[in-house]
């Protein structure tokens, strides 16, 4: 009976955030308590998070899971309304309104002897458990991750611990090699003619480029797709993608597919579906934040004569590229 009671209390856990780490002003890590999910999670799976009662359901790929601590780790980029809001509200000790998962088919990480694991943008964190699983399976793992600049690099130590070779690519060359992820892949293919498999997670443009690079070399390429979802259980069909001419649902048929079969243009088109609404939501939210700041600062200003309304104008938001949108990663 004790065992039963334990299972029950685990299922009841209220998704409490136990760790928060900020890698940069847009990238942050949340680790939340959910022992049952930590036990079930496998590399390649995702969760759907709802941060508050009025929130939307956003799919996020699991960046890490710790079965001993009973926690799940997510790495999130603040690009849209929901992810920016979560950046403000999700602190240690707070709870998420809802998290469901693990969802999707786990990736097949056994068999390959020499593997390249590629992560770019949002894909850097979720490629980590894959690299670790390949390593645990006895493969030779080449990790390639890309960042804009040195300050944005994170988890280098974690990657180095599970990769036999680790290549960091930065746009400005401030860390690792200068260039895009594809330059890193070129390097890996040049030095290792015997690569069995390449796994890529990141923005669709990046995954498309990766698949294009491996095709002439006939390297098996797995990509993790991140379309817009509602339920994540195969019910709405919002996440439908074209794989080799056939329509599949990323949530229940994926999220991983053969990169050489994916119609990336279709995926990118479908990711733009709510561009206008996303913009409205973000603008409205930024405005309400600005007004809130104004009220707070105005009340402060009674004590501070240096108050000037010009200081209050928040810097204009650069709207995110929808390809970078946090719809999975």
């Amino acid at each position: 009976m004790q065992g039963r009671a334990k299972v029950k209390s685990q299922a009841m856990s209220r998704f409490e955030i136990v760790t928060r780490e900020d890698f940069s002003d847009v990238t942050y890590l949340l680790e939340f308590h959910h022992p049952l999910m930590a036990k079930a999670a496998r590399p390649g799976q995702f969760v759907i998070v709802m941060s508050h009662e009025h929130g939307e359901r956003i799919p996020l790929t699991i960046a890490d899971f710790d079965r001993n601590k009973g926690t799940i780790t997510l790495v999130i980029q603040a690009v849209g309304k929901t992810t920016r809001e979560m950046q403000q509200t999700c602190q240690v000790g707070t709870t998420l309104y809802g998290v469901v998962g693990p969802m999707g088919n786990p990736s097949h990480t056994s068999g390959a002897k020499k593997v390249v694991c590629v992560g770019g943008g949002l894909g850097v964190a979720p490629i980590y458990p894959q690299a670790r699983a390949f390593k645990e399976g006895g493969a030779y793992v080449i990790g390639i991750v890309g960042f804009r600049t040195r300050d944005l690099v994170f988890w280098e130590d974690k990657f180095r611990a599970c990769c036999d070779e680790f290549i960091v690519c930065t746009d400005d060359g401030s860390a690792g090699i200068k260039g895009l992820i594809t330059d890193g892949i070129k390097l890996a293919i040049a030095t290792h003619p015997d690569i069995d498999e390449l796994v890529a997670i990141g923005p669709p443009v990046m995954m498309k480029a990766c698949a294009a690079m491996t095709q002439p070399h006939n390297i098996k390429t797995v990509v993790c797709l991140n379309p817009i979802m509602v339920d994540g259980t195969g019910m709405c069909g919002g996440c439908r993608v074209r794989i080799g001419g056939q329509v599949k649902f990323a949530c229940v048929d994926g999220p991983e597919f053969d990169g050489h079969q994916v119609d990336f243009d279709d995926l990118m088109l479908r990711l733009r579906r709510f561009k206008a609404e996303e913009k409205t939501a973000l603008e409205r939210w930024s405005e309400s934040c600005r007004m809130k700041n104004e009220i707070e600062t105005a009340s402060l200003s009674r004590q501070s004569p240096a108050y000037s309304p010009d200081n209050l104008l928040s810097e204009p938001f650069a709207l995110p590229d929808p390809f970078e949108e946090v719809k999975g990663g």
Partner: protein, 506 residues
Amino acid sequence: MAKKKTIRTIPQERAPVREQDPRERARNFKEVVYGFRLEDALHEAERCLLCPDPACVEGCPVSIDIPGFIQKISAKDLRGAYDVITGTNLLPAICGRVCPQESQCEGVCPVGEALEPVAIGRLERFIGDTAIAQGWTNIPYIEPSGFRIGIVGSGPAGMACAADMAKAGCDVTVYEAFHQAGGVLKYGIPDFRLPNAVIDAEIDNLRKLGVKFECNTLVGRLFTIEQMLAEMGFHAVFVGTGAGYPSLLGIPGDSLGGVLSANELLTRCNLMLAREFPSYDTPLPLGRHVAVIGSGNTAMDAMRVCLRLGAENVHCIYRRTKAESPARAEEIHHAEEEGIEFHWLTNPVEILDDGKGNVRGMRCIRMELGEPDESGRRRPVPVAGSEFEFTTDLVVFAIGTNANPIMGQTSKLKLNKRGYIETDANLATSMAGVFAGGDIVTGAATVIEAMGAGRKAARNMKAYLGLRDTDLPYLTDGRGSAGRLFGIDLRERNFARVRVAATANS
């Protein structure tokens, strides 16, 4: 008792139904059909002939004692009527609204042979709503049986099974993948047809019976059916996960922006409250000229939702005729009243791109009815050279659903060719102790059929566990309580071997 009623002595006309004006309601999400007032209910109850061998009870998938509760209404004993209904159906406010009564109880009502049949559904709803307003619940004395039952899916099948198992003294836990319980009642059926408050009230009644609801739990992925039985201490499991997986159009242009399934549209609007965007964060595609493909109840819901979201015109594209349309008669009638434009015998051929990845229009072809097909309906065949284009900026497809693959992917349950769970006549699956019912067994059907399956599964689950069927003693008197033997009703199907759980008899 008064003189026997005949078709001549009863009120000839049905009690009038009050509805929101079509022009007004097409712009709001408030309920379309108002409930009966007491005088309406009394009038309608008078129209029941109280047949000694009632066809309506036979016509009801859960065999509600319909003359029994109508008699109580006539006697102005509304609480009594509620007790009669809840003896078999714990969710009258829901069923009264969404059952296809015209093909069930009302369809076989003898009054209907000469006049309009008795408005059984509206009477049921009247009692259900009165109970919610008055806060009535029927919580029978339940002796714990010591059995633990897991239910996968909180839709109508799961709710009905949960209610019966809880009444049999089992410790019932219902798992739901969404963040709110209710399944298709919540995400699928819009508020103007079934208000969320009604669903929540009925779910609360289940909670009072001791049923636990665990949301945010995707069974199969978080834990499997096998784990529920082997590790989590469940003695039996019911799977009622629904059909889900929407069928796709498979015509050119079907992945353009502005093409979505009715499931997606309805979920965003009903469950995620995207109609309140941006107060709620979930966005919803809005169309000025909407085309909905299909003519079932889901299609009607999708069309009427689009209208309420501000569409200028909404078209229904269906390849057969109104006569073959699978929607409830009342839904088609309401949709017509609200100004939906129906295009019968029309089939989409291609969705047209505006050059920016969004829908600009649709090309359709006219159809005509040919020879009957396997379903007995005349097969629609295209009329050569009848293609035409029209402008639309939102295309919603409501052409049915396929089996959800998650259960098959994550358990060893035997599936049939089409991916639905295979069961025997008792709804037992290939795995001992696991029962299944509703859309995941039959394919897309109605709410009440799913409830009926949930109850049937519960009956057989009780047999499997060796529990006496507590279902029948809740039937009210009137059908002969004479056959009692040592306090045990003879009608109660008593199972030869009575297994008594450890905690029940310690």
